[in-house]
Amino acid sequence: MSFDASSARGDLILTRITKEYGDFKAVDDLSLTIPKGSFFALLGPSGCGKTTTLRMIAGLEEPTVGSIHLGETDITTTKPYQRPINTVFQNYALFPHLTIFENIAFGLRRRGIKDVDAEVNKVLNLVELPHLAGRKPTQLSGGQQQRIALARAIVNKPALLLLDEPLGALDLKLRRQMQIELKWIQKEVGLTFVHVTHDQEEAMTMADTIAVMNEGQIEQMGSPADLYDNPETAFVANFLGQSNLIKGTITGNDGDSLVVDLYGQKISVPKNRSHAVDNSMYAGIRPEKFRISLLDTPVSGNVLTGGRIEDVSYIGVSTQYQVEMPWGQELMVFEQNDDGVAPFNKGDAVNISWAPVFTFALRGDEDVTAGSEVTPEDLDEE
């Protein structure tokens, strides 16, 4: 049975979706609600199932198990052309035999919209390319094609706009610019955007809410700040930015904090940032939250003593230090260069300190390397 769902509006609700290809589960029992009007990012490494999820939302794949609702309407088995959902494809997929104008008008004409000219011109102005209406896609630069692909989708005012790695083919500078522009356009047109990417920076720049996917499941979902400051798993801690994860044991309570023993040194961790299930845990601290001080400088907060600077790299806005701790682990520290010179030298004996609120705690049985060996830059498309 198929019916017209094109007037459906509301939140997008995925309920217990599984997609199998033979023995391989691309998406594994995934449930997700994407609120109307939000800019939502599905973030994860290659093969995590994010593109498959997007294709199921678009109607290009059917889930093996589970249902997809748009508001009250069940769209699980409807055809792509019956859904009020449009996609900006990874390589844009502009029709090479049609002019830019006709590319953008394609969806309007299929739906029998009356005022095609006005609508197309309006959206061409929105993406600031009105002078290209008569050209063919091959005569446009990558950045221009990207904007036309976006225009071709949003001109239909869909309930949901899907973006499949939309900026992957652009160079870094253009990508930055388009990130800002996309976010602006989303606010301007007020549509729900669902953005699939493996680039954590891109996701953090644009999205209100990020769902980090790994092996067909959602690892964690939240605002960019939530995910960054309070990751629940080692995968999230490592995939989004970098983390220092130090093995420890929870030894007691102190009001809203836990007392934690890291190789004989006591620190405190806020209870609401602890995801440990028993006494064994990993304490996690982002490199830029650490402060380095010489042994005789008084410090407050959490302190780890006995460090020795192993390596200093000056990279302009900050200096990155590798500090070897007494238990053999090297910690990463990023210090802002706001006092003119790099004050510490290789071989200096130092303390490391940080504000206790910046500590998060992960389960002690986590694989501390999860998510860190996949560097987003050298990932290909799925």
Binding site: S6, A58, G59, L60, K79, P80, Y81, I85, N86, T87, F89, Q90, N91, A93, L94, F95, P96, H97, F106, G107, R110, R111, K136, T138, Q139, R152, A153, N156
Partner: protein
């Protein structure tokens, strides 16, 4: 300017070295010239002898005339044969292009049991010697009590053209990005609209190329036609028969005409493509 200065200060170069350098730089041009000469001498010969004031046999140059071009149907039966060839070619092209395109889509786009076998079998008629095909088709027609003639020839031509159409169109389909069709569906085009608005226009150049190929294969086929056409005279059959007693210059006129027509179609296609790309 800088070249002059370089010449003035450069040591003298022997003519042999100079020639070697010139030859090295222009080797590809020399080769190209020779290759094209080889390819086009027969065409040029045919064209030149279409102006021969030949009388009965067009083997020796006897003087220039425009009479043959003014009256291409002057030789007995030549235009009748040409008309038959065009009719057969048109029908064979029409049917083989439609059927072949459908097969190409089936093989190129769908997974079905026996797909790779069909893919292989499609090549067989191309690999089979024409003489065998022609003879066995004739005996097949006779078994079914069908006399050789116009329609058996059309059927035979459709049969051997289909393979070429399939191969040509399939190549075009293979180069088609499936995401374009997905994008069309995403933009509210149903299956039929997607095919008509996106798939077909993008595959069209391949289909057009296949049709041209089918027509030219059918037009100049002699072997299979000779077995199956009975009393129907096609242009190649006419030329072959005429060769015994001397080919009339009108055959050269028609041959040259076909060549220039084909050339015009190719050039027009190129211009159209360039316009489209612009």
């Amino acid at each position: 300017m800088s070249k002059k200065i370089a010449d003035a200060t450069a040591p003298r170069i022997s003519p042999v070295v100079k020639f070697q350098r010139w030859f090295g730089r222009n080797l590809i041009r020399v080769y190209m010239f020779l290759a094209f000469t080889y390819l086009f001498i027969p065409v040029a010969y045919t064209f030149a002898f279409s102006f021969n004031d030949s009388g009965k046999s067009n083997l020796v140059w006897k003087g220039f005339t425009l009479d043959n071009w003014k009256n291409p149907c002057g030789a007995p039966e030549v235009c009748n044969a040409l008309a038959n060839s065009i009719k057969i070619g048109f029908l064979a092209t029409l049917f083989s292009t439609i059927l072949g395109t459908m097969i190409a889509f089936a093989i190129g786009r769908h997974n079905f049991k026996g797909r790779s076998t069909s893919n292989l079998l499609i090549f067989l008629p191309m690999a089979t010697p024409e003489i065998v095909l022609g003879a066995s088709l004739l005996s097949l027609f006779l078994v079914f009590k069908i006399n050789p003639g116009f329609w058996p020839t059309v059927i035979a031509h459709v049969m051997f053209c289909i393979s070429f159409v399939v191969v040509t169109v399939k190549a075009r389909i293979a180069s088609l990005d499936p995401r374009l069709e997905q994008a069309a569906m995403d933009l509210y085009a149903n299956e039929i609209q997607t095919f008509r608005r996106v798939t077909l226009p993008l595959v069209a150049p391949g289909i057009a190329g296949a049709a041209l190929l089918a027509f030219s294969l059918s037009f100049d086929d002699f072997i299979i036609t000779n077995f199956n056409s009975g009393t129907v005279i096609t242009f190649p059959k006419f030329v072959y028969t005429a060769a015994a007693r001397g080919i009339p210059a009108q055959a050269n006129v028609i041959g040259s005409g076909m060549f220039f027509l084909a050339l015009a179609i190719v050039i027009a296609g190129q211009i159209l493509n360039r316009r489209k790309a612009r």
